[in-house]
Symmetry: C2
Subunit: 133 residues, 2 copies
């Protein structure tokens, strides 16, 4: 699998766990034995696996109907990358930076920040020819 | 210089350019010949050097009195890292994720997101022993 595709696959797994309230999936997805950090909008910054996973445990008790849209993976090294994507919940969208590292051939999340954005992503997943220029 | 220190140094240079309205410094600081992205709070996502630098040109016409506080550098590879820090403007604070890559021994920014947070960093730059536990 192409590196960027593998990163997008990990990013999809993150939003699947998020939307399905799957704390086991979320726990597996965050990197082990590395510093991890998380910036939920309006929260204090969270540092370390314990704080980060506790926050997800709280959020995933009532998981929002969140959908990832227009994800874009950007490699910053052989084993590091980040994804930008919209997080759509009903009629509103946030925008996120998700940083991943590769550990034992698997891409794991080390950082997540989501925050306000303007507008919404294009409604369809298919490419829109009117946006080509 | 220790890697993390060098990354923090680049992060400081970013906030110095930001606060001083130094568009030349800002232009040098962003990576060349690499994808760059920027998520200003409430803006649409910006992709590519042209869009990103145009946004800074607009912002730096009236630079805010912004101060970086409590920066923390986290390495994600030999040549990639990110910094978390508060951005304090008067009585409010945002929180930022700044991603850097090393090019020709220099750390350059490839991504910036800032967004809302809760609370403020400790007022003093010096370590606060009461926060040690």
């Amino acid at each position: 699998m192409h590196l960027a595709e593998a990163v997008l696959f990990a990013n999809e797994a993150f939003y699947a766990a998020f939307a399905q309230g799957d704390i086991r999936g979320m726990t597996e997805l965050w990197a082990q034995d590395r510093p991890v950090t998380c910036l939920h909008p309006g929260w204090e910054p969270l540092h370390g696996r314990e704080q980060v996973l506790a926050s997800w445990q709280a959020i995933l008790r009532q998981p929002p109907k969140v959908r990832c849209a227009s994800p874009q993976a950007i490699l910053t090294g052989e084993d590091s990358a980040y994804v930008l994507c919209y997080e759509v919940v009903q009629e509103t969208a946030l925008i996120a930076t998700n940083i991943f590292v590769r550990q034992n051939k698997l891409w794991r999340m080390v950082h997540h920040q989501s925050g306000p954005t303007r507008g919404m992503p294009a409604p369809a997943a298919a490419p829109d020819p009117s946006r080509a220029n």
